[in-house]
Symmetry: C2
Subunit: 352 residues, 2 copies
C-alpha cells in the first residue's frame, strides 16, 4: 500500500505537543491527514500545523478510526489506558510516556542508535525514551558502537520544561519575585519569598538547584534516575550496563545538560572520540574551550542535535571519557524523537 499515512497527535496542546506541531510543519510532509487530539477541555480549539488551522478533537476511540500512526504525548495513566485501545484498532502508537518503556514487548527506540528495534512491536506500540536519557544517548551510543560501553556515571542539569508548562510558568513566576532582590544570601530567604508557589517542584527552583525529579523508588533512588539506568540499558542492548545517575533540576527553561563519565572496554583516545562525535548523525561536536566553545542550554535550545563538548579522557583511567552534553528536552528529548520514530514507521506504509 503506497499512500500517505494518516497521523494522530494525541496531547497536541501540551508543552511537547506544541513543539511537535512545529516539527511536523518543518519536516518533509510525509503525512496524509493529521488529526489533533487532546482532552475534552481543549476540544474545539484550532492549532496551526503545516500552515493550516486544524480543530482539536476530544480523545475518544472514534478519533482513531482510519488512523495509521498515533503519537502520544500525554501523562502515563492516559497513555496506559488509551494506547492499547488505539493499537487494538490497528494504529501504530508511538508513545512518549513512561507507561510502556520497560515492557519487553514494546521496543524503546532512538532512530540514530537502534532503528531496527522499531520494526518489532508485538503490542503495536513503540516507546519513546525519557527526555533525560534522550539528551545524552545519541552521543553515548555513537561512542559505544566503537569502544564498547561498560559503565555510565551521569549527573543531570534538567530544565524546568521537563515538568511541562507548569514547570516553565513556575520558574517564570519565581524569577519575577527574585529579580531585583538581594535574595539568595541567607538560609531560607528564597523559600520565604516563593512561599508555597513551587509548582511541580519540591523546592524553589529560581536561584536554586533541586536534586530531585520524579517519584521515590527503592533505596532512595528517584524514578527519573531509574529511568536513565533502565532505558540506557534497553536502548543500547546492554542489560548488565553499570549506570549511576543523579538527576538535578536547574533554573533553565528548556534544554537538559548532563555530565557523562563513560567507561569503555579498553583504552580510548580523545582524538578518536572526537572523530566519532564529529561524524555521528544527530550529534554536534562543539568543543574548543580555548575559543570559548562548549555547549550551553542558551545556545542549544530550539535545535535538533545532541551537542557535545568538554571531551576529555579521565586523567586516572585511560578507559574513561568525560563529556558535557546538551539536548533540547522538548525536541530530541521528546517531540523530535517521537516524530523520527513515527517517520520510520511511516516508511512501512509508503514503501508500498
Amino acid at each position: 500500500m503506497s499512500r500517505k499515512p494518516t497521523l494522530a497527535v494525541v496531547g497536541a496542546t501540551g508543552a511537547v505537543g506544541t513543539v511537535m506541531l512545529q516539527i511536523l510543519s518543518q519536516h518533509a510532509d510525509i503525512w496524509g491527514e493529521i488529526r489533533l487530539v487532546a482532552s475534552p477541555r481543549s476540544a474545539g480549539r484550532k492549532l496551526a500545523v503545516r500552515g493550516e488551522q486544524v480543530e482539536v478533537l476530544a480523545l475518544s476511540e472514534e478519533v482513531f478510526d482510519g488512523v495509521d500512526v498515533a503519537m502520544f504525548d500525554v501523562p502515563d495513566e492516559v497513555a496506559a489506558r488509551w494506547a492499547p485501545l488505539a493499537a487494538a484498532k490497528g494504529v501504530v502508537v508511538v508513545d512518549n510516556s513512561a507507561a510502556f518503556r520497560m515492557d519487553p514487548d514494546v521496543p524503546l527506540v532512538v532512530p540514530e542508535v537502534n532503528p531496527h528495534a522499531a520494526r518489532v512491536r508485538p503490542r503495536g506500540i513503540v516507546a519513546n525514551p525519557n527526555c533525560t536519557t534522550l539528551s545524552m544517548i545519541v552521543a553515548v551510543g555513537a561512542l559505544h558502537a566503537e569502544f564498547g560501553l561498560r559503565e555510565l556515571i551521569v549527573s543531570s542539569y534538567q530544565a524546568v520544561s521537563g515538568a511541562g508548562r507548569d514547570g516553565v510558568e513556575t520558574l517564570r513566576r519565581q524569577l519575577k519575585l527574585v529579580a531585583g532582590s538581594e535574595l539568595g544570601t541567607s538560609p531560607g530567604d528564597v523559600r520565604r519569598a516563593v512561599g508555597d508557589d513551587t509548582g511541580p517542584f519540591p523546592e524553589p527552583v529560581a536561584l536554586n538547584v533541586v536534586p530531585w525529579a520524579g517519584t521515590l523508588r527503592d533505596d532512595g533512588w528517584s524514578s527519573e534516575e531509574m529511568k536513565v539506568r533502565d532505558e540506557s540499558r534497553k536502548i543500547l542492548g546492554l542489560p548488565g550496563l553499570r549506570v549511576a545517575a543523579t538527576c538535578v533540576r536547574v533554573p533553565v527553561i528548556t534544554t537538559h545538560s548532563l555530565t557523562v563519565h563513560a567507561r569503555f572496554e579498553d583504552e580510548v583516545t580523545v582524538d578518536r572520540a572526537r572523530e566519532i562525535l564529529a561524524t555521528a548523525p544527530g550529534v554536534v561536536l562543539f568543543d574548543d574551550p580555548a575559543a570559548g566553545e562548549f555547549p550551553t542550554p542558551a545556545d542549544v535550545v530550539g535545535t535538533d542535535p545532541t551537542w557535545v563538548g568538554r571531551v576529555r579522557r579521565a586523567l586516572d583511567d585511560p578507559t574513561a571519557l568525560e563529556l558535557f552534553v546538551c539536548g533540547d528536552n522538548l525536541r530530541k528529548g521528546a517531540a523530535l524523537n517521537t516524530a523520527q520514530i513515527a517517520e520510520l514507521v511511516a516508511k512501512e506504509f509508503t514503501a508500498g
Copy 2:
C-alpha cells in the same frame, strides 16, 4: 607565651572578606587586635567587626608589624607576592588563594580532615583549599576515614559568588533582563538579551548553566577541575587517588552543590555511611526524600556545615556511594575554613 594573638585580615572588603568579618564577630573572641587590610583604594573605609568600626589599612609591609596570624583573601598574584613578605616577618599566613596550595612546603588544611597538617609549615604559610573542593571534602573525608577511598567522580553546580562580587552582580543584572520575558526558548535569545554583559563568565549565566570555571589547562581540563583533583589528593593524603571532576556554573548566588560518586576499597552499606555522616563534625545529614528532605542551596546558604543528602549505594557497584552535597562557598568554602585554620594556629599562641 599566653596572650591573645594579633590578627590581620587581608582582603577585608571582598566577598569572602565580608563573610570573614561576620564570622569573626560570631566566633569565640580569641583574638587581640584585629587589623583590616585591603588595596589602597579601599583604605580609610570603616568596617564593622566584633561590634566595632575598624578602619581599613592599605596593604604594605608595615601593616604586618606585630601581627601573629594573617588571613589572606586576595587574588593569586597578590598572595604570591605578599604572603612570603608577611611570613618573613614571622607572621603565620593562612592563604585562601591558589598560589601555594600545591607547594610541598605548604600544608593544605581542612580542620575536620587533616588538622595535624597545620602544625608543619616550613614556609610559614598554611593554604586554604579551593571552594569547590571544600564544599564536599569534609563529608568525603569522613567516609574515607572508615571505608578507604579509591575514586571520586564529581560534578559541580557552582554558585556565582565563587567568582566574587562581580559574579553576583552579573547574575543580578542578567536576572532583571530575563525576568518577565519569554527568553530561554530559542537559540541565542538569552545571549542576545545579555549582550556582552557576561561579567567574569564566558557565557550568560541567567537561565543557563556554563560548563567552565577557571582557565584552560592541559588536555581540555579547566583549572577548577584540576584543583578538585590535586587538592583532594593532598588533603586526604592519597597521591594516587583517581579523581574526575566536571565543574559547571549555575545561576545560584551562594552555595556550591556537587554530585559525588565515591568508590571505596570494599563493599559499603548505606546504613553505615549514614551513621558516619550523621556524626561527623561539620556535616549535617539531611536525607529523607519521602519527607522532601535533601539539601538545596536555598536552605544551606549562610550556614556553616557541609550538608549531605541523596545517600545511595550504586546499584551496580557495591563499593560505591552516591551523594548530593551542598556547602556555602563563602563560609566553609572560603572564610570559615580559613578562620578555623587561623583558630587552630592561634591555639599555639594561647596554649602558653
